[in-house]
């Protein structure tokens, strides 16, 4: 890690969040790539690959359910944590802070609709 790197570094294959666990924070990719995977029984499905500036784990900010997928580093990746309480307190003062997350969630719903239609 360079002296000027922010966040935490994860090595190739290391899990940042794990499907089924409870979460109380969101993450932003600072550098490198991470992959989102979901396990159904023995099968593992790769849902997405995320890069710098992308969020994940944001559903934990809005519901109390467990993580719906596992996110792990693909190569060395650096990730910044955003605390749930800090974030929600700020959103209360400035709701527009949640805009980017809403944008991303709506894009994801669109993708899911397209997949369901296939």
């Amino acid at each position: 890690m360079k002296a000027g790197d922010l966040g935490r570094e994860y090595q190739d294959g290391e899990a940042i969040i794990t499907q089924g666990e409870v979460g109380d924070r969101m993450y932003v990719v600072q550098s490198g790539k991470v992959e989102v995977v979901r396990t159904d029984g023995a099968a593992e499905v790769r849902l997405a690959e995320l890069k710098q500036g992308d969020f994940f784990g944001e559903m934990a900010l809005f519901d109390k359910d467990v993580r719906s997928s596992t996110v792990r580093a693909k190569g060395t990746a650096r990730v910044l944590t955003i605390d749930k309480k800090m974030f929600l307190r700020k959103v209360h003062e400035d709701p527009s802070l949640a805009f980017r997350i809403m944008e991303k969630m709506s894009r994801r719903i669109r993708e899911l609709n397209e997949q369901a239609g296939k």
Binding site: A3, G4, L6, V28
Partner: protein
């Protein structure tokens, strides 16, 4: 008075407040499908080492601001961030203690606001202010590299003119001129009854130590000093890439006070034994906002960042983000009249001012602790105990972390210090520390 496609906005000052404002204004305008023309006037290019290319400050981007920017999609990369900070070391005559917040994550950024200190040889890192201005430009802002010399009014609209003759008439004028330099005089001359903030002088200097020495002696910690030196309020040493930045706040800062601080045993102990203060080094005496402007708006004009209202002593750039975004939201969604700014922008300024009044009490108490040897020892003992036992509550560590790094509101800091558990623990530690004289704890 609403902004619409074709409206023209002048932002005077391209420091963090001006750049944040421009960025958010253009982003919200694009979502609302309004096409604005935004000119940012900024005489600095941020390419010149030394004070001429720099809006002088400690260069700490607070933990909360790093997270807000992350959520806004603004990533601070290692071409701008010189050092990620994950801890701080508190130095007092009674000893030294290192405080690691849970998580051990680097969420505070140490940057140089300009192109780096005088004497800088290689430009490995980009200026933070230039980086933000670049973000504003990437959304379509037009940067005019000149100082605004006059502002007058034409049919109720502000007219701006620079030395080189650039300028024009605008639908909204945004003042983000800071408090150092001549910008405030210009704003006072505008004839709208603007009262500038109250300020006090501070001191900053930069020492070239090289990456290895910094890593070894300062690491990725911010070093704060609570020393009983008359007139010294607070001091910190912030490690950057090849330099360390020394920041001092106090009463009537002069050479004598600077020498007393830099010559103190606590400061000397941070540097290599054979190191001495180099004759030539970059230094400045910038002003800091200590009481905001009472009415930072008018018809078609709004004051953001330091020249309006900002956070007391800490996290000024976080305050810039708050006021800039609140002003941009008002301009896009509520209009640019004095009434709109009073109703929708005013509360943000008021909230900062109220929190600063609480901050003054927090700093008063810190000042008292600095003066009382038994209180200093008690506080040190409490923090050291918290840091040694991972499972225990971290009341004092958390309070000091937020006070020194500006990561949360002064109200939240104050509320936590009023908690019976906190007070009980502190009193207990003071009593136990009473018979002890000097102890080096932690590290």
């Amino acid at each position: 008075m609403l902004l619409d496609t074709g409206s023209r906005v002048a932002v005077v000052g391209g420091g963090p407040a001006g750049s944040f404002f421009t960025y958010f204004l253009l982003e919200m305008a694009s979502r609302m499908e309004i096409e604005l023309q935004v000119d940012v006037y900024e005489p600095k290019t941020y390419l010149q080492p030394g004070p001429a290319g720099c809006n002088m400050c400690g260069g700490i981007i607070s933990e909360s601001l790093v997270q807000y920017l992350g959520a806004e999609g603004i990533i601070l990369d290692s071409d701008v961030v010189q050092r990620g900070i994950d801890s701080y070391v508190m130095h007092m005559d009674a000893g030294t203690v290192r405080i690691d917040p849970p998580g051990h994550e680097k969420r505070i950024a140490a940057v140089h606001r300009g192109a780096g200190p005088r004497g800088q040889v290689n430009h490995r890192w980009a200026s933070f202010d230039k980086h933000l201005l670049g973000l504003a430009e990437s959304l379509g802002a037009h940067v005019i590299n000149d100082r605004v010399e006059t502002i007058d009014w034409v049919d109720g609209r502000p007219r701006v003119a620079t030395k080189k003759g650039e300028g024009g008439v605008y639908d909204l004028l945004v003042s983000a001129v800071g408090v150092s330099g001549g910008g405030l005089k210009l704003m006072e001359s505008m004839g709208i009854g603007y009262q500038p903030p109250e300020t006090t002088k501070t001191y900053i200097c930069e020492f070239l130590l090289g990456e290895e020495v910094i890593e070894q002696y300062f690491g990725s910690s911010m070093h704060v000093f609570l020393l009983d030196i008359p007139r010294l309020e607070f001091a910190a040493i912030i490690p950057k890439g090849e330099f360390v930045t020394v920041v001092m706040l106090g009463e009537g800062i002069d050479k004598e006070l600077v020498d007393a601080f830099l010559g103190s045993p606590e400061v000397r102990a941070c540097f290599p034994a054979d190191w001495s203060i180099p004759e030539e080094h970059c230094r400045c005496f910038p002003s800091i906002n200590i009481k905001g402007s009472p009415r930072p708006y008018g018809d078609r004009v709004v004051f953001i960042g330091d020249c309006g209202e900002n956070r007391l002593y800490k996290d000024g750039i976080g305050g810039d983000y708050r006021t800039a975004k609140a002003a941009a939201k008002t301009a896009i969604f509520e209009g640019v009249s004095e009434g709109a700014f009073r109703k929708y922008y005013g509360p943000t300024c008021k909230a900062l001012a109220t929190d600063n009044s609480i901050g003054k009490i927090v700093f008063l108490v810190t000042g008292l602790i600095k003066k009382l040897p038994f209180a200093r020892r008690g506080m040190l003992r409490m923090v050291a105990g918290e840091q040694r036992s991972p499972g225990s509550g971290k009341q004092m560590s958390g309070v000091l972390w937020d006070t020194f790094t500006g990561s949360s509101s002064y109200r939240s800091v104050f509320q936590r210090t009023m908690h019976p558990l906190f007070l009980g623990k502190l009193v207990w530690n003071i009593i136990v520390a009473l018979p002890r004289r000097r102890a080096i704890v932690g590290q």
